[in-house]
Amino acid sequence: MMQQVSSDPLLKVENLVVEYSVGGKTIHAVSDVSLEIARGETLGLVGESGCGKSTLGRAVLQLRQAVSGTVLFDGHDLAAMQGDSLRKMRRRVQLIFQDPIASLNPRRRIGDIVAEPLVISGVKDPNKRKQIVSDVLSAVGLDPALVSGRLPHEFSGGQCQRICIARALVLNPEFIICDEPVSALDVSIRAQILNLLEEMKTRYGLTLLFIAHDLAVVKAVSDRVAVMYLGRLCEVGPSEQLFATPAHPYTALLIEAIPVPDPDIRPTQSIPVGEPPSPIAPPSGCRFRTRCPRADARCASEVPELRMVAPRQFAACHHPLI
């Protein structure tokens, strides 16, 4: 069950369960998910809306309380931390959101927005703050002299995402959770931001959890990819291997559903008609079975465990494709 990636992972999530209560009903957002991220690695997390990928990201940061399970960051149990020690730990972990314009306070100037984390973490010398902000704005490709005094509405979506990235980098974190960082951006801008994230990763020695629904985007930046469906992990493996030889039928379906910009590749008509069931009452056994062409009686009665199907590749399926 464990996918050991290194002897000393930076992040280790074990048997994490997150549930919400909505109108007296329980939403099983994340069910028994375990994963590891090695230092310097980018783990891509893909899945469709409502599969629990964002909830997982938030639970790692303790922005959502887990029902059970542990989150170990650099060996420390984050759930056991409180107050000052949790705040200190959070400086090492940052978050970048999908909507860059909504994540910036419209009434504050860019220089102040990016300096805010420094103020909170107690960097008292304004000149020092100014220097750090100026360095980080230059790093993300913005001219500090031109942008510092301006307000968010004066910038485009792509530039706002650069500002958000600068704000995430200003405390020199080790780990960044990117939650759909490019899905609100246009194609020509998306490539710029993806390249920037890669550049920043190398420059600042970051470890990334990259959450997205677009497989091609995830593959472009990730060393390993984890696929989620309805709160459970379906498959984890090295990016290229996972895309070349998917073991879980859901991974295969996701890959097949991507529209390819090549007129010679006629779209296949083999996409199953079904939709993901409700996370309020997920199917018994394997949660993908209601849409799976390979499902049988065992899939309904027994939850498939994540097990090794190839070197470093793990799938939770009774009838894997490899």
Binding site: V187, E198, L215, A220, P261, I265
Partner: protein, 327 residues
């Protein structure tokens, strides 16, 4: 059955804004043959939605439009509001990006379908109801009879988009405009909806315009593609030709900027530097020239016109990508 069903001739749309006049659509010519599918591709703000609103005659009140929109032999600009209303929904249907905004949240699915059908076709209530059930079944909605009594919020995003498609198809339109029909949907649902549109288009011999920002969506599913940038059509060609022999540098850059599934992880993407121009401050030269790696000399001072290379291949560029370069 062929012949031009819709033609847009020299359409110009100007929108007054606090920052000055914004030319949203800049001298656009397009044509769609009966039964064919045209893809309009471009990034946000390129004018693709304003162009579809021009065709539907649903432009904002303050917009100024010139040019001609000929649909099935009639000039839509000269039709009375009453005649236009009869045409829209009947012969000219539309599916928008967000099905929640095109469906009325306080009316049942059944009411909305039956109302549309009875508005345009001479059918009694029982017949209209029967037709609604058939339509919902055709667009792949399970238990269609029960769905008639449900409200839009009781359905998932994919199911709502199916209902919106059923409403659009209800009067057998000659032309369906799908404006980013799958952008709000998940990938597996997107593939289902695109398949559904393609199937219904073939079955009904309906013409279709798919408006999207995703070159992947138009590649396997359209007969012709028009690429828009800053309000203009900058390249237009039959789909296979466009992908294999693109001449406009913007088309090339747009395709190159897409992450490829067959590329190794951490391959840097050939990004397009800069961003689209401010259309309230039109450039003298080619709108793409500040971001174009081939731009030189007159690109900055003169606007390239859309010219034909092959009979069906048009592009607006002084330095087109060399012919014979196989993509």
């Amino acid at each position: 059955m062929s012949g031009v069903l819709l033609s847009v001739e020299d359409a110009v749309v100007d929108l007054p804004t606090p920052r000055g006049n914004l030319r949203a659509v800049d001298h656009v010519d397009l044509a769609v043959d009966a039964g064919k599918t045209l893809g309009i591709v471009g990034e946000s703000g390129c004018g693709k939605t304003m162009l579809s609103r021009t065709i539907l005659q649903l432009l904002p009140k303050k917009a100024k439009l010139s040019g001609r929109v000929m649909f099935d032999g009639q000039d839509l600009l000269k039709l009375s509001p009453e005649k236009l209303r009869k045409l829209r929904g009947r012969s000219l249907a539309v599916v928008f990006q967000d099905p929640m905004t095109s469906l009325n949240p306080v009316l049942t699915i059944g009411t909305q379908l039956i109302e549309t059908i009875q508005e345009h076709l001479e059918l009694g209530l029982a017949q209209a109801r029967q037709r609604s059930i058939e339509l919902l079944a055709a667009v792949g909605i399970p238990a269609p009879e029960q769905r008639l009594a449900q409200y839009p919020h009781q359905l998932s995003g994919g199911m709502r988009q199916r209902v919106a498609i059923a409403v659009a198809l209800s009067c057998e339109p000659q032309l369906l405009i799908a404006d980013e029909p799958t952008t709000a949907l998940d990938v597996t649902i997107q593939a289902q909806i695109l398949d559904l549109l393609a199937r219904e288009q073939q079955r009904r011999h309906m013409a279709m315009i798919i408006i999207t920002h995703d070159l992947g969506v138009v590649a396997g599913r359209t007969d012709e593609v028009a690429v828009m940038y800053a309000g203009r059509v900058v390249e237009r060609a039959p789909t296979p030709l466009l992908f294999k022999q693109m001449r406009m540098p913007y088309t090339e850059a747009l395709l190159a900027a897409l992450p490829k599934l067959d590329a190794a992880p951490h391959t840097p993407l050939p990004a397009i530097s800069g961003r689209p121009p401010d259309q309230t401050r039109p450039l003298k030269g080619c709108s793409f020239s500040p971001r174009c790696r081939y731009a030189a000399g007159r690109c900055n001072t003169e606007k390239p016109s859309l010219r034909a290379e092959a009979p069906q291949h048009f592009y607006a560029c002084f330095h087109p990508i060399a012919a014979g370069v196989d993509a």
